[in-house]
């Protein structure tokens, strides 16, 4: 990209990572540069795909940056962009919105809704709220949080309205969007005069 950096995704099922240095001269001697890693065997070159690195080598690397390819042709040095490797998950296991029952409040009280999703490790999710006061009410606080647990990561978005108004009554939706889909949970809020 414009920063001279490409991101290579590693999913849980990946057995290898390919650094996609492609060349137009099939028998060109292309070297792979990478951060200090323990084990080098098993790294292979394919002039149609690039350098292939076995997953265990990536997992044992201290850092996942500084990967790039270099070659010399006609006395001139060539260098690829820099590659950053990122472990990425994709699964959203479940989404919950607390409290699950309808919420009844008096004008002036505080409303707190907690949207929690359990996701596969390293899964990035965009958590967005839709609610009656979204356009008008600027006194809404939304706090995200990510907590890797023992078997999955818990992602949370907490919506707080410190002093509710009658116009804050209505349906509240939490939309959780991952790479491939969006899941939504909803609850009802009723504010009495």
């Amino acid at each position: 990209n414009e920063h001279g950096l490409e991101t290579i995704l590693v999913t849980r099922s990946s057995t290898h990572i390919t650094v996609p240095c492609l060349v137009t001269v099939p028998d060109l001697n292309v070297t792979l540069h990478y951060p200090p890693i323990l084990e080098q065997s098993g790294i292979t070159w394919d002039n149609k795909q690039g350098w292939s690195i076995p997953r265990p080598i990536i997992d044992s690397a201290t850092m996942l940056i500084g990967f790039h390819c270099a070659a010399t042709l006609g006395g001139k040095d060539y260098r690829s962009t820099n590659y950053l490797i990122h472990n990425a998950g994709s699964q959203v296991y479940d989404v919950k919105l607390f409290p699950e029952d309808p919420v009844e409040l008096m004008v002036g009280e505080a409303l707190t809704l907690n949207c929690t999703a359990s996701v596969e490790f390293n899964t990035g999710v965009d958590m967005q709220w839709s609610y009656p006061g979204k356009q008008t009410n600027s006194y809404v606080e939304i706090k995200p949080h990510r907590e890797p647990l023992s078997h999955a990561t818990e992602v949370v978005s907490i919506l707080t309205i410190h002093t509710v108004n009658v116009t804050d009554s209505g349906p509240y939706f939490c939309n959780v969007t991952s790479m491939d889909r969006t899941q939504t949970q909803q609850t009802q809020v009723i504010v009495h005069e």
Binding site: T7, H86, G124, R146
Partner: protein, 104 residues
Amino acid sequence: AYLNLDILKSIESEWRKTRCMPREVCIDVGREFGAPTNIFYKPPCVSVYRCGGCCHSEDKQCRNISTGYLSKTLFEITVPITQGTRPVTISVANHTQCSCLSKL
């Protein structure tokens, strides 16, 4: 009976090593800044100094009495990846002086 000086010296040394002072720690950037749940940082942590160590009374706690800020450059990955990866510079609190302050 007199206290063995070697014991006294080793205890004094341990007390000095565990006193309340700025200590190097790893701070998870996403958590420190409450980043959205679709953003990852590379590296995920930065190294700064924060007050740590032990006070010799339960009503005291080791707190910073002076703080600076360090600039750190990281890569920020936004998912979905199509939004790309970019270097960002953040400013992280770095404790420079600590003291055992009263909790009450």
